[in-house]
Amino acid sequence: MTAALPSWLVALIGPFIVLNAVIGMVTYVTLLERKFAARMQSRIGPYRVGPHGLLQPIADALKLMMKEDIVPRTADRRVYNLAPIVFLIPCMLIFATIPFAPGLGVADLNIGILFFLAVSSMEIVGLFMAGWGSNNKYALLSAMRAVNQIISYDLPFIFAALVPVLLAGSLKLSDIASAQAGLWFAFYPVIGQLAFVFFIVSTLAAENRVPFDILEAESELVAGFRVEYSGMKFALIQLGEYAHIIGSSFLGAVLFLGAWAGPGPEWLGPLWLLLKAMFLFLLITWVRWSFVRIRVDQILTLSWKVLMPATLLLLISTAIVVVWRAGV
């Protein structure tokens, strides 16, 4: 069957499936988040559309599609229209290197984690384009804050993500996953736990989630860089943001939680990975509803004075431990 198809088409099947799976997952993860958040506030959350609100994401998507698409008169039209796409592409590309099971993934690069980290930071380009192109003071301020924050937090994020790389001795994500067959890196004594905590904190900041959401800051910047967007463009930006969060959750699950390792037969692997990623996503949501937004200077202090030296020290001590254990 596959032999009859041209090879370029065969190469596109995997990405096509993953892309659609990600879009579908993002749609339903919004429902998961809303339900979870509602329960934390003793509410029920979406309930009316479909049984227990199960059709709510579809209703939301339809609503966004049918909304009027407004371009502000003073906006930089080309940048404004391009920004959601530029924002979305890196957020989708990060799924390319995630191995969903042994040998199952779009592209298991031998520098997979490097690719992930590089591409995931690219979203800031689209974000800044959105803020700049809107020609709106709130959007611009928000975009500037976002750049500031991402520059500050990408380094701790990368350092924390490099700890499992050192422990596994490979940049390939599938190698890192299979290196955790015996012991998940989150349970690696001391180093693993510290790296995991640092990873979560810097993920929160890199995703601009509460308590590091100064760029969204509803109370001061209305909704941040996407304030002027409506309709489908708004939907694309939201899709990108959630895809980025889920992508980071998957990365966390692969790096620290043993990826597809779990009880049961081998074909349950992707399910375990999904469950672990959702656990991380809910952890992020849990943090979101537990804290208030912190100030800009506090965010920067936390990054440069605490997380940066701490993760760097952790990385060095991990290297020492790895070398020492290899020597013994």
């Binding site: 329960r39 934390m40 003793s42 509410r43 029920i44 309930y47 849990w286 537990s290």
Partner: protein, 212 residues
């Protein structure tokens, strides 16, 4: 007004007479170094754990949401909801005698009544209530001599058209049959109050007269 009468917190931080001279403020550029300062890592970790614990406990609590249109919470006995006209229990006649007391007492003047003279008793020829301007003060219920106008244990009259909130006599009677009646009626409310003013005046006048 001199500085001495002001509270201890100085208005001007550079004032030499300021009593809090040792405690530097934020404006002077130095942060206070206390044990519980927000930069203390132990404080931060403890605060983080506390905050996360609160939300985690909430997660496993039963939601308090009531699915309103499907399910209503029980209203208190003296709930002041929709207004309605009721029929007399024994005869089944309209209880309203068109005395217009409610019209006189209504503060926003939303009630309009016309009386229909009859042989044995009077009736209301028309009775209209502009519910969109009603302030639900219950005064009309209090004054009603025949317990004709009462309040219902419901507020369920949302509509897209304001004109539907102009209730006529038939509509008010229909509401009276549709919902559950609140406890309060004119006679019950008056029974709770003190004796009428006239009786009290007489009571008061007796000892005063004997003294004089």
């Amino acid at each position: 007004m001199s500085n001495a009468t002001l509270p201890t917190r100085p208005i001007n931080p550079t004032s030499p007479t300021s009593p809090g001279g040792s405690e530097r403020t934020r404006a002077t550029g130095t942060t206070p170094t206390r044990a519980a300062s927000p930069t203390n890592p132990v404080t931060i970790v403890r605060a983080v754990a506390k905050a996360m614990w609160v939300t985690l406990v909430n997660l496993f609590r039963k939601p308090i949401t009531v699915h309103y249109p499907d399910q209503e919470r029980t209203y208190p006995d003296r709930y002041r909801g929709l207004l309605a006209l009721v029929y007399e229990k024994d005869t089944g006649e309209e209880a309203c005698i068109g005395c217009r007391l409610c019209e006189y007492v209504c503060p926003p003047a939303v009630i309009k009544v016309e009386m229909l003279k009859s042989e044995k008793r009077n009736y209301a020829k028309s009775f209209s209530l502009e519910l969109y301007a009603c302030e639900f003060c219950e005064l009309c219920v209090q004054v009603c001599p025949t317990d004709a106008i009462v309040m219902m244990k419901s507020f369920d009259l949302a509509t897209a058209d304001r004109r539907e909130m102009l209730l006529d006599k038939d509509r008010l009677h229909a509401i009276g049959l549709q919902y559950q009646q609140s406890w309060a009626t004119g006679n019950l409310l008056r029974a709770m109050q003190g004796p009428p003013k006239m009786a009290r005046a007489e009571e008061h006048a007796k000892p005063a007269g004997s003294d004089a």
